[in-house]
Symmetry: C2
């Protein structure tokens, strides 16, 4: 295989190879539980020294995708590609495949006087402050998403108090009398994770995150909540649900 040189890409050789191997693992070319090619074979395939291959594999070990067994080989660790459904009444906790032990943990909340411009306009704040809530989502013990939500304090009085008591955004919303809401807007983009995100999700720097920005509104159309969720792209794909529309 002709391979790109680091000089052209700005990637070190070991990272280029690690990225290539990861994609082959994720797309199933190397099936879970099976043995990877030996380091020597991979060195031949990519035309590099075995030491470079070892550095690449070290990345995948760090990420938990493969395990090395001395004397035996390198094996693909069973992994799940999580499918996160975006639909009308979905919450962050709804994952398509069951059973997954998903938990959402609020890690901080704070009333901010001047939220970012996009938040203010999407929530029609017009100068009012917003309650900002940071959460992380874990599935089976692995952190897969990092979320920031903003609420109009005028619509959700004492939401932060209830949040501290219940330690759950959904329960806190119920406590302030909000039971039902629908997603009215979503935008999806992708970028390199920043340092905080990489740290919170235990990702190697340079990892890709899928960014979902969305607005949930009350049934009368009043915007209630603006959320920006960053999913780790190596483990999550977004499933856009059109089934609610099938009845038309």
């Amino acid at each position: 295989m002709t391979f790109l040189t680091r000089s052209a890409t700005g990637y070190s050789t070991w990272r280029l190879i690690a990225d290539q191997l990861r994609s082959e693992i994720v797309d199933g070319s190397f099936a879970p539980e099976t043995k990877m090619p030996t380091e020597g074979e991979l060195a031949d395939r990519f035309g590099v020294h075995r030491n470079t291959i070892r550095q690449s594999i070290a990345v995948l070990v760090e990420e938990g995708l493969v395990a090395r067994r001395q004397g035996s080989g390198t094996f693909v660790v069973p992994h799940t590609l999580l499918v996160h459904r975006i639909g009308l009444r979905t919450r962050l906790s709804n994952s398509a495949r069951q059973p997954d032990a998903t938990s959402n943990r609020p890690i901080a909340s704070e009333i901010v006087a001047n939220p970012p411009q996009e938040v203010a306009s999407r929530l029609r704040l017009e100068g009012r402050p917003a309650l900002q809530i940071e959460t992380v989502a874990d599935v089976n013990g692995t952190t897969i998403a990092r979320s920031t939500a903003w609420f109009d304090v005028a619509l959700t009085p004492d939401l932060d108090v209830h949040l501290r008591q219940t330690r759950s955004v959904t329960k806190a919303l119920r406590a302030v009398g909000i039971d039902d809401y629908v997603r009215t807007w979503s935008a999806v983009s992708a970028r390199i994770a920043n340092r905080v995100e990489a740290e919170d999700m235990n990702l190697p720097s340079g990892s890709i995150v899928l960014v979902v920005r969305s607005v949930n509104s009350l049934l009368d159309g009043t915007p209630l909540q603006y959320t920006s969720t960053r999913f780790r792209a190596d483990r999550v794909e977004l499933d856009i649900d059109f089934s609610d529309l099938a009845g038309h």
Copy 2:
């Protein structure tokens, strides 16, 4: 600013800095038409030599994001973040912001006996061959997406003949009697562009693509078309349209 070292990330320093600067341009921290900080200032900010900054900026020049003017400075070139809407009856050509001169060019088509497993199952091919069509999408002269579509040849006889005549997938479908269809499934993921994609979209290698896989079906629910579209993530975000649901 404390910055990540290349040793930890596998990125060369100039690429780390280029990525950072690009994200600040794309998110508006450096507004279009304005002057960037001088190379010396950037060198101070990132704690590197000016030569390294120059290499980073060369990447952005290559990508068309900034322009250098000797003696004057480096300036942010006006650019657009394209918003691509995913909804019930959207096609690749529908972009949210107008006016954009969008064109879809079929670049190759071929009948393949054994399409990938996911294609076969989503289209319920059960062993039948599929017509595979490769297209690129340009907006204002810039290629922003690379798409691969598969059709069940049993449902679309002579589609390839009409495609060669009309040079348009939509027109070719109309010619075989298919006027209306709806999107029944979509999944969104993100990854590093492979070499072919990077070449077709004129991207630096290592760029991120948003991958949208989707199935369009006839109104009776028969799956018609499986499509995988790779958008360049630096210029495109996906807008998920729930407005069809507002009437409920």
